[in-house]
C-alpha cells in the first residue's frame, strides 16, 4: 500500500507530465575530412517539457510546450554553431482504437534555430510523429511509428520497437528514442542499461556561413544527431516525481548541413552524465 490514497485525490483538476533534464558530455571530436577536425569540445544539453493530458471523448489530448538546447564548447575556428535550440508547442492525441491498438499523433510546431538573435519565418518547423502500439498481451507490446520532418535529410523515418516484460522484475523497453533493459530493484528504484537517440533539424542564422568562412552555410539547415549508451537509475521520490541519474559514453555524433554538403562526422566519443526530474500529475 502506498500514499496514493490521499495524494492522488482530486486536489488538482489537470493531468499531465513533465521532464527537466540536463546532460553534460565530455570532450569529443568530429571531423570533416582529415584536415578539418573539431576536437576537444564538450556539450551541455538541457530539455524541459510540460504536457497536459486531459481526457476527452476521442482520447487523451496532449497539449504542452518544450524547450531543448544543445550548447557546445567549440573552438573559435569551428564551422559549427555553439548553440542549437528549439521552442515548440506540443499538440497530440492518444487514441484507443480497440482493446489492442493505441495510436498517437503528435506534432511539435516551433522555432528550431541556433539562438534567438535573428528570427526568420523559416526557423519555423513542424515535425510530427504517428505511432501505433499493438498490445499483444499485458507483457508484450509491439510499437510501430513514423517520424516526419520536411527539413530533415530523410524526411520520413520509420521505426519499430517492442516492450516486453521478460519477468516480474525485468522489462525490455526497446522503443526509440530511449531503448532500455530495466530491472526493478525495489518498488521505487529501477536500474537500467540502454541508449538515447537524438536527431533534430535546426536552421543556423543568416550570417553563420560568412562568419565561419563557408558562405553557403548562411541560413542553412543542420541535422544534428547523437547516440548515447549508458546505465542509470530511476528513483521514484514521490508518486509524482522520479529522479533519474545516468552515466555512459557517447559513441556517435554528427553535424550534417546536408543541403550544403558540409558534414562533420563523429571522430571521438566522450563520457557523459545525465540528471533528470520527471513525472506525471
Amino acid at each position: 500500500m502506498s500514499a496514493f490514497a490521499d495524494e492522488s485525490s482530486n486536489w488538482w483538476p489537470l493531468t499531465g507530465e513533465f521532464t527537466a533534464e540536463a546532460t553534460y558530455v565530455g570532450e569529443g571530436d568530429v571531423e570533416r575530412g582529415p584536415r578539418k577536425a573539431v576536437r576537444n569540445f564538450d556539450e551541455i544539453d538541457s530539455d524541459i517539457h510540460l504536457v497536459l493530458t486531459p481526457r476527452t471523448k476521442f482520447g487523451v489530448l496532449r497539449l504542452g510546450t518544450e524547450w531543448e538546447r544543445f550548447s557546445f564548447g567549440l573552438p573559435q575556428n569551428a564551422a559549427l554553431p555553439n548553440t542549437l535550440q528549439s521552442f515548440s508547442a506540443i499538440f497530440g492525441l492518444d487514441m484507443q482504437f480497440s482493446d489492442s491498438i493505441l495510436v498517437r499523433v503528435e506534432t511539435q510546431p516551433g522555432l528550431y534555430n541556433s539562438g534567438l538573435g535573428h528570427l526568420f519565418w523559416d526557423d519555423f518547423n513542424m515535425p510530427f510523429v504517428i505511432g501505433g502500439t499493438y498490445i499483444y498481451s499485458p507483457d508484450l507490446q509491439l510499437v510501430l511509428g513514423v517520424s516526419v520532418d520536411v527539413e530533415r535529410k530523410y524526411p520520413v523515418v520509420p521505426a519499430a520497437g517492442v516492450r516486453w516484460k521478460i519477468g516480474p522484475k525485468w522489462l525490455l523497453d526497446a522503443v526509440l528514442p530511449k531503448p532500455r533493459l530495466q530491472y526493478e530493484l525495489t518498488r521505487d528504484v529501477t536500474v537500467y542499461a540502454g541508449a538515447t537517440v537524438r536527431a533534430a533539424t535546426f536552421r543556423v542564422d543568416d550570417e553563420f556561413g560568412v562568419s565561419h568562412g563557408i558562405p553557403r552555410l548562411n541560413h542553412a539547415v543542420l541535422t544534428y544527431s547523437e547516440i548515447r549508451t549508458g546505465a542509470g537509475f530511476d528513483w521514484k521520490i514521490s508518486p509524482m516525481i522520479t529522479l533519474t541519474g545516468e552515466v555512459g559514453y557517447q559513441p556517435y555524433r554528427e553535424f550534417d548541413f546536408y543541403r550544403a554538403e558540409v558534414r562533420y562526422h563523429h571522430d571521438g566519443g566522450a563520457p557523459y552524465g545525465t540528471v533528470a526530474l520527471h513525472g506525471a500529475f
Binding site: 502506498s2 490514497a5 480497440s98 498481451s137
Partner: protein
Amino acid sequence: MKPKMVSLHFRALKNVLFVPLLSLAATMARGDAVSELASFSVFDKVDLAQLAKSDVKTAHGPPMRNSRFLAVQSCYVAPGSPAQQIEALRRWNPTRHSELKVFQHTDLPSNPTPANFEKLKSAPGNASVRSLVAATQKLSPQLQISKDEAKKFSAGAAGAGGAIPAPVAAFWAEVLAARTRAFSSGGMAAEPPYDHSGPSVRASEEVNGLLREQEKIRRQFSALLGATGIGRGAGSLRPELYWELLDADDQGVVTLGASYNRGGSEGTYQAADVLYYASGGYYVALTLYQLWPVTVEGKPSTLVWRGDMISSASLGSLRGVERLGSESVMMKNITKAVTLFRRDSGGR
C-alpha cells in the same frame, strides 16, 4: 464471479399465454433490453442479432476523476435464459484456466474458521506465490492489512510447510477468516482498514467512490446494492462467500469475495460480485451484471451487460497513454475471461 442463484418467481399467467403473444412479448423485451442497456451503459447502439454472432463487445467506462479508479464495460449475447446464465456463472471455476492466473478458489461458509483456508498450504510454488510469502515474512509496506493484523504475524520456524510456509499460511488463514466473519456480520463497513503503513484506506469507501462516479450504473443497481453488504453494512440478501489466491501484477494476492444476485421483472436478473478484500494489487474490485431475456433467431437467449470496476493504488500513478494502455489490458483480460466462460458454458 460466482453470483448466487435465486429462485425464479414465474407468474402463473405466463404459462397460459399463446405463442403469438409470446413472440410479441419477446420482440418487445428485446427492444426494451436494448433501450435499457443504452440508458445506463456506454453501449448506446447495440444490434442484438449482430452481437449474438460476435465475440464479447468491450469498451472503457466513463472517465472518472479519481485516478485510482478504472472501469470497463462489456456486453454479449448468450444462449438460454438469464437464470441459466446466472447458474452457469455460479458454477464456473476460473482455476481451470491457467491464463486467468487464479490459483485457488474455495467457497466459504458465513462463519469460517482458519480451517476453511487449509488449501493455502498446498498453493503452487510459483513466482507470484513466492512474492506473497516474501512480502508477508517482512511485513512489507505494500501488504494491505490493518495495524492490528500486522501485530499478529509471527515468522515462526523457517522452512516449515509447502510453497507457503506454515506460519505465513496460518497468518493469512487467521486474517481471512476474521475478515470474512466481519463481512458476514457487518458488510464492507465492518472491514478493518488497510492502515498497516501509510494512510488508512477503507475498501467500503473505495467501492462507494467507484459507484458515485458512475451515477447511471449506481442508479440502475441501487435496489440490488442496497440489499447487499457492498459498501455498507450487512444487507438482507445472503451472499455466496469465497476466497481466492491469484496473481495481480506478478504479485501473489489472497482475496475475499462475495456474490449476490436477484431476479427482477420479466425474467431479468442482476448480479454483483465484489472482491472486498485483497492483500495487495488492488483495494477493491466490483463486477455488476444485468441480464435480460431476449429472443435471437427464434431462440431464447440472454443479453448480458457486465461492468467491471477497480480501485488500485498503482493506477493512481498512471496518466495519459499509460492509463489508456492499462484500460486496454483490463479490457483484454475481461474479454479473455468472458470468452473462456462462454466457451465453458456452451455459449460459443
